[in-house]
Amino acid sequence: MSTLSHNGSVDLGSLRGRRLPKAVPPLLGVAALAVSAAGILGTGAGGWVLTVVVAALLFGIGTFGVALAVEGSRKARDRLATIAVYGAFILALIPLGSVVATLLAKGTGRIDAEFFYHSMNNITALDSGGGAYHAIIGTLEQVGIAAVLAIPLGLAAAVYIVEYGRGRLTAAIRFFVDVMTGIPSIVAGLFVLAFWVLIVTPVFNDGRPGYSGFAAALALTVLMLPTIVRSAEEMLRLVPQALREGSYALGVPKWKTIVRVVLPTAAPGIVTGVMLAIARAAGETAPVLLVAGGTPAINFNPFSGNQESLSYFVYEQAGAASQYSPGRAWTAALTLIAIVAILTIAAKLLARRSTIGR
């Protein structure tokens, strides 16, 4: 009888356990900060960064100790792990927040009409004006041409790998795409310099090498391709086989199934990959330096003559011997980030429009 009642009734106390009151962790946090501030700021042993780091450590140890005493070891370890995960998240966000804050703080100084409507033509080290109009044009044209070349090529390669490829050729393509991912941008620039600028263009240019924005776009294409191919490939693989079969079962040919069913289903993910590639290309300096050459003047024609780009403009202005150039560099950097952000947001909206909302 006694064993039966012992097994038959559920002891709710053991299921519920003892829990820390909700107010305790925040209080511990405040206490940790206070102790840390008193010990470090109070004695002058360090600055506020050390104070926060020590406070975080104290908070972790304190929470673990209190939880261990009240809730038991499993809960205590759970709380410690939670604090560690949140801590890692905040640490990862610090560089991003720092970059954005610095750009906003220093880059807004030259946001004026002259910056966006004038080039650096005839601007000397003593002049305060000047702008990045020529660089903005260069970046948009070079990245635009690179995107026009790289997106169809990259998508076609990904479609081949996923939908048609069998055996060694596909394995070889995937291997070389992986290798391409690791190509430093300076090498891509050197490739275009050696092949296009120094060998191909002299044939059409009276033997003189043809530096141009288009050459820079070619180098950016080399850099964008692997990112687009690999991300599109992953997204196409995620499209369920059942959708392809559903389409085949309606008597739809394979190419039409790919164009009308598979690609639209994978579109949002593919757009993300394409935008990553564009963002990377827009930020590259080395290829532009090597094959577009840079110029202080406005050049709308990407196929002839030196061209500037925003990242190259930042590089030039950051090193220029003028009290006004750092301001231009910061604002150009902010402009570059804004352009990439606007393009990304626009592309995401478009991709969402092309599929249908929930």
């Binding site: 079962a249 008597g251 289903t265 599929t355």
Partner: protein, 258 residues
């Protein structure tokens, strides 16, 4: 419209593995034929070889003849997309196209095969959705995504999509196995109506379902794991369930095996 399906010594492989061995059977037009049998006995493989869907799997191939009204669909001169247009298929799990609306899903087969005329598409959408008993539920939200429907509605949407291209044969691969009993009943009613216009072949694990909806039943089985599936017995549904010739059929339908 409905056509006769005649399989003559159909053998199907996945790579070097023989999944079904020498299946010979005739499926009558305007009837419902059920394929039953234990898992791995090749009934889905046989079904998928009727509309040449089997060969979509890499390394899979089919030998033998499959005649649709005396025309061998495995003849090298036959266009595989034309075969699939004539022989529709409904899958185990509902697979509406997620990027398309309900309307676009239903007319996908027509539109992707080049039909552009709006009135033709509208008529096909309405008549197919009515035939699939879905019209009353979705007529006010045809522009909403097909993925937003319930599982049973999605499966009826897939049936509407399959019949919108007016196939001659309709293949159903366990169409109710992912559905609740009420949705299952709705689909079974639908199958009974569809046989007035189409040749319906249905694979099912549910023996009551086979008994309820089919006119003829084929029992497939395997000797042991790794062996190819074979057709054990094929007869009127009433005969199979009440008075089977083969001992193995009786063991299976009475639950003593598999």
């Amino acid at each position: 419209m409905a056509k006769r399906v005649e399989a003559v010594e159909v053998t199907a492989y996945y790579g070097s593995f023989r999944a079904i061995d020498s299946i010979t059977m005739t499926i009558e037009p305007k009837s419902v034929t059920a394929l039953i049998g234990p898992s791995g006995c090749g009934k889905s493989t046989f079904l998928r070889s009727i509309n040449r869907m089997h060969e979509v799997t890499p390394g899979a191939k089919v030998q033998g003849k499959l005649m649709i009204d005396a025309e061998d669909i495995y003849d090298p001169r036959v266009d595989v997309t034309a075969v699939r247009r004539a022989i529709g298929m409904v899958f185990q799990r509902p697979n509406p196209f997620p990027t398309m609306s309900i309307y676009d899903n239903v007319v996908a087969g027509l539109r992707l095969n080049g039909v552009r005329k709006k009135s033709t598409l509208d008529d096909a959408a309405e008549s197919s959705l009515r035939a699939a008993h879905l019209w009353d539920e979705v007529s006010d939200r045809l522009k909403r995504p097909g993925g937003g429907l319930s599982g049973g509605q999605q499966q009826r949407l897939c049936i509407a999509r399959a019949i919108a291209v007016e196939p001659q044969v309709l293949l159903m691969d366990e169409p109710c196995s992912a559905l609740d009993p009420i949705s299952t009943l709705a689909i079974e009613d639908l199958i009974s109506e569809l046989k007035d216009r189409y040749t319906v072949v249905i694979v099912t694990h549910n023996m009551q379902q086979a008994a309820r909806v089919s006119d003829r039943t084929a029992f497939f089985s395997i000797e042991s794991t790794g062996d190819p599936g074979r057709l054990v017995e094929y007869d009127d549904t009433a005969t199979i369930f009440q008075n089977p010739t083969e001992k193995r059929t009786e063991d299976y339908i009475t639950g003593r095996f598999g």
